[in-house]
């Protein structure tokens, strides 16, 4: 019989541009150890290891095999998933489903990346079709710049609106000891930072980080014995709509729209802005922090700037977004989507320390990547029916 599933422990490394103090396996070990300690479990308690990253960032083939000494997967079922930027959220969805299958009680899910060991953009370029798209429209920033331009044009959004998102996230990151960029910035600093790809400037964009995250998923048979506050998965959904560039219209993030709609329906969410208490959004750049709130149905199209300027998404607002500081502050790509999962779990468990949002009962994490792809998960303090 299918089981209900909860997050019972989380761990993450500290993040930097270059973690020269550890190799990849040691980085993974750091996150795994933290997660096991958080759940007060040992390696022997784990039934399944699920790991993911993006191969071309480190140049290691069969990472699930290579990382055994760090993941603790020795003589255990060990499997690798990868879907690009969405890898971390894809891993969380798999952790949920593989435990819900009833075949495993406790799964250790690991996302990691050591971006310093590669040329990130060169590696991302190879995602795109080698004949049709790679020569003309590839890489991470260009596509986002098109989306941002269309959004500005459609609704009269300004670069200043986007900068307000950065100010919020960088302020939140200051209170998160694991964040990579922990210096607050002003709107003027964002607007005057070097242009990367119009309208995206350096401070509108996420960094690339070295880091890892581990999350332990447990079935309802054991979750409540492991932790006082298990974080129950209520539902998951995803859409990966982009194969070729012409598959996507850049007006609104269609994949997130469709996935959110499916998720809310599954979980009985009618008024997401009111019902959700905190969101960790996989938001690699500032404009996404506006437009994608609309795609998630939190407000009408074009209205996100008002929400953000009014402080609705600030730490003390009605629906705090990215209390951790989000992706704009920390981005170890294969881990990034899983950190969103870990962070909302910490919020529900009341373990988020200085960036804790009071009384979180329902939370959402997302993943973005592939190209304009979206994953989304909804968590609750209450056990789902």
């Amino acid at each position: 019989m299918a089981k209900r599933v909860a997050v019972v422990g989380t761990g993450q490394t500290y993040h930097k541009s270059k973690r020269i103090d550890v190799n990849g396996v040691e980085l993974i070990y750091e996150a795994v150890t933290q997660a096991l300690e958080d759940a007060e479990l040992t390696r022997d308690d784990i039934d399944l290891v699920i790991i993911g990253n993006m191969d071309h960032f480190e140049g290691i083939n069969y990472v699930d095999m290579w990382s055994i000494d760090g993941s603790g997967g020795l003589m255990k079922p060990t499997i690798k998933l990868t879907t690009g930027g969405t890898t971390g959220s894809t891993l969380a969805i798999a952790g949920y489903q593989m435990v819900a299958s009833g075949l495993f009680d406790k799964a250790l899910v690991i996302g990691w990346e050591k971006n310093s060991e590669s040329d990130t953009t060169a590696a991302i370029n190879t995602a795109f079709d080698p004949i049709w798209d790679r020569l003309t429209f590839a890489g991470a920033i260009g596509g986002l710049a098109v989306e941002a331009s269309a959004y500005m044009n459609d609704y009269g959004i300004t670069e200043r609106d986007a900068a307000r998102v950065v100010v919020r996230d960088r302020k939140n990151a200051y209170h998160n000891p694991y964040a990579h960029l922990r210096k607050e910035v002003t709107i003027e600093e964002v607007l005057s930072s070097p242009m990367l790809c119009d309208p995206i400037k350096l401070l509108d964009m996420c960094p690339r980080s070295d880091g890892a995250c581990a999350v332990i998923f447990a079935s309802e048979d054991v979750a409540e014995k492991i932790t006082e506050i298990p974080v129950w998965i209520w539902g998951t959904a995803n859409r990966h709509l982009y194969t070729y560039i012409n598959d996507v219209n850049f007006h609104g993030l269609q994949s997130l729209k469709n996935a959110s709609k499916e998720l809310y329906q599954k979980c009985g969410i009618r008024e997401p802005l009111k019902e959700i208490d905190v969101i960790e959004l996989y938001q690699p750049y500032s404009f996404g922090g506006l437009m994608w709130l609309e795609s998630m149905g939190l407000c009408k199209d074009g209205e996100a700037p008002r929400l953000v300027w009014d402080g609705v998404t600030d730490m003390d607002g009605e629906l705090p977004v990215n209390p951790s500081g989000g992706v704009i502050a920390t981005n170890p790509i294969g881990a990034t989507g899983l950190i969103r999962c870990a962070e909302v779990a910490m919020q529900i468990m009341d373990k988020a320390g200085e960036h804790q949002v009071p009384d979180v009962k329902i939370a959402v994490s997302t993943g973005f990547g592939g190209c304009m792809w979206s994953d989304i998960l909804l968590y609750g303090k209450e056990k789902p029916k």
Partner: protein
Amino acid sequence: MEKVAIIGIGMTKQERRKKAETFADMVFEAVTKALEDADMTTKDIDNIVTGCNDFWDGRTISSMAVGDASGAWDKNISCVEGDGTFVAFYGMTRILSHSYGTTLVTAHSKGSESVSSLITNAMFDPIYTRPLGLDGITSAALQARRYMDKYGITEEQCAMVSVKNHRNAKNNPYSQLPMDLSLKDVLNSRMLADPIKLLDASPITDGACAVILANEKTAKRFTKHPVWIKGVGFCADAYHLGDRDLAECKSLEKAAQTAYKMAGITNPFKEIDVAEIYDAFSYQELMWSEGLGFCDKGGGGKLVEKGETEMKGSIPLNPSGGCLSAHAVIAAGLIRIAEATLQVRGGAGKRQIPGSKTALAHGVNGPCGQSHCVWILGGEDG
């Protein structure tokens, strides 16, 4: 475990070089065939798991290339990077979790567009072992030597596997290298890495496979003869070759025990009618036979000598011709599942083992069989 069935399979012909087809073309062909086989359309599929590898495909986010071809538009989709048996495992749990009812699993690769020695070299530690030139073939040679040395397995016994599997391939229209070989042909073939010779090794192959998994209700709606998943397990051993005794396959033993326990199998040699196992090299069919409990440790050589693994033997291995006759990496394990499905259905044509009720499929990840996945399939009363 609740019941999950395999209700459709499809594969491309496996060839040395598919000049005309992209990854998406190959996957589309396999998916179309699987849907026809299940009497379904893409509308009946509610989620997809692709099997892709960024190194073999030369693309990061390699699953992006095959989303459309898998009919994944506006559906929940994921990607396992590893052998097809592992991909299908995740596909099965998506049904057992009650997240979905029908999973389409795909896997593909084009060896012709890859440099397999470089790609398999990238499995090894970049500081210590990669510069030694270890790759899929040279690491397998170390394992073969250790295995032969520990258990007195001979090059002739390994060669027998190659002769048998290439002969079996003659009955399989999808296989790449159907051949009548003599022991001498194998033993005298070009040395690749002692003791592995050209005909002890699997070829470079292009190909794709698709398998449709469904819960009991859906399975019964679409077919009168579903093939049920009776048991499945996977397990990984140590990474560094020096941390293992390469003559042993502990992780395979554990994966097999998990699958057997689930399927209620206590004597695999007797209870399994046919097995499709991952013979990337001839010695591996012998070693994996031991790990799967078809014989005692070190008994793999005798097993093939006695003809037990022939089409008419007690435990026919690789009636399809196995990986030795066609080895589209990543797809290969899913092809083993598809072949085992055909055997249970009685639909394997000239390569059918008569009366097969219980079939085993096996896949491998990592160097020297570091990680194994074992599937037991059966018919309604199997």
